[in-house]
Symmetry: C2
Subunit: 214 residues, 2 copies
Amino acid sequence: MTFLKSPSSIEQKSFEIIRKELGQRSWTEAETRIITRMIHTTADFTFADITEISPGAIEAAVTALRSGCHIVTDTNMAKAGVNRNMLERFGIGVSCFIDLPEVEETARSLGITRAMVAMRAASDDPRNRIFAVGNAPTALFELISLHEQQMINPAVVIGVPVGFVGATEAKEALRHTSIPYIITRGRKGGSNVAAAVVNALLHLASNGEVEPQV
Amino acid sequence: MTFLKSPSSIEQKSFEIIRKELGQRSWTEAETRIITRMIHTTADFTFADITEISPGAIEAAVTALRSGCHIVTDTNMAKAGVNRNMLERFGIGVSCFIDLPEVEETARSLGITRAMVAMRAASDDPRNRIFAVGNAPTALFELISLHEQQMINPAVVIGVPVGFVGATEAKEALRHTSIPYIITRGRKGGSNVAAAVVNALLHLASNGEVEPQV
């Protein structure tokens, strides 16, 4: 069988196709890099229409990444999707607290989601300044609440939970805070989308050069 | 803020909404469980139209899972998305070989994707009988080639790579083999979708009962 086997060629050609099919958009180059990466990971062009980036959010994220902030995800899937080479280059960590025994125990005793308790756990370390939520609307509501209580100081919240119960509402709630955000309006999103946004930000923090990802 | 915080209520309500919006379909209950879970993880109803399940594929997968076969994924993201409680219940493992140093070395020296080499590595253990490919079309082409060489004996191949270069073609190629398959035609799919299909199969193997997932 004849097919492209070189990882860098595959990625380069993919982004060419996406940009061509998107046509002209009124986005900055940085916004384009984030949104094309979301489309790259889903093959779903509706992300071009539902993604909303608050003014200054990208710059805040890039600045925080360059100064070594840490990243928190709501799921292990999102964590697994973050580009390790980029993390190593910046010397930063990505954490997901959902599987900690104490998180599970607290969630069970309170009858709330582990994702909520995991966000509270993340608030213990002030280096945690980029939060990526791809799955649990409850995690996003909890981040908003922690921010109101001044328990977290996010550079950006990537609010892209997917789903039918609470996802749309949680993202709308985030829009009405002072937290810099990158969101997808409506039901769509996902752990893969959250990871894609983190990776796009890491690429942007790395002088804006987009390098092939295998 | 008032919102649903109980994980089981959230999941149950989500599946109710999905089934309602899907309306009547000519699917078996097992097919419905797989496709609704794909929609649950993406909020994308086009999966109802692009998913194709070969005759007997679900039964083959369920039988293999009940007899303790192992699962292989092409990405760590898909692996991270597989329900651990279910795996423990069946005493089965899920592996992703993409980060093995020898895989990376071989891929680099041959100028091919790590995903391809990772599938070759998976062929070493005959217990590996469920393959879930959510990202790399090259992994799917490699599985087809390994099957032609009688180096693997898959119970099912979950062929849902996402993308713009090779994904559609790899899935079409799989349809023309004798391998039992679950695929998404066209560009869409993803590591999250691959994990969702694996989880649906695990639920079906567990006597068909669908239990809440946090």
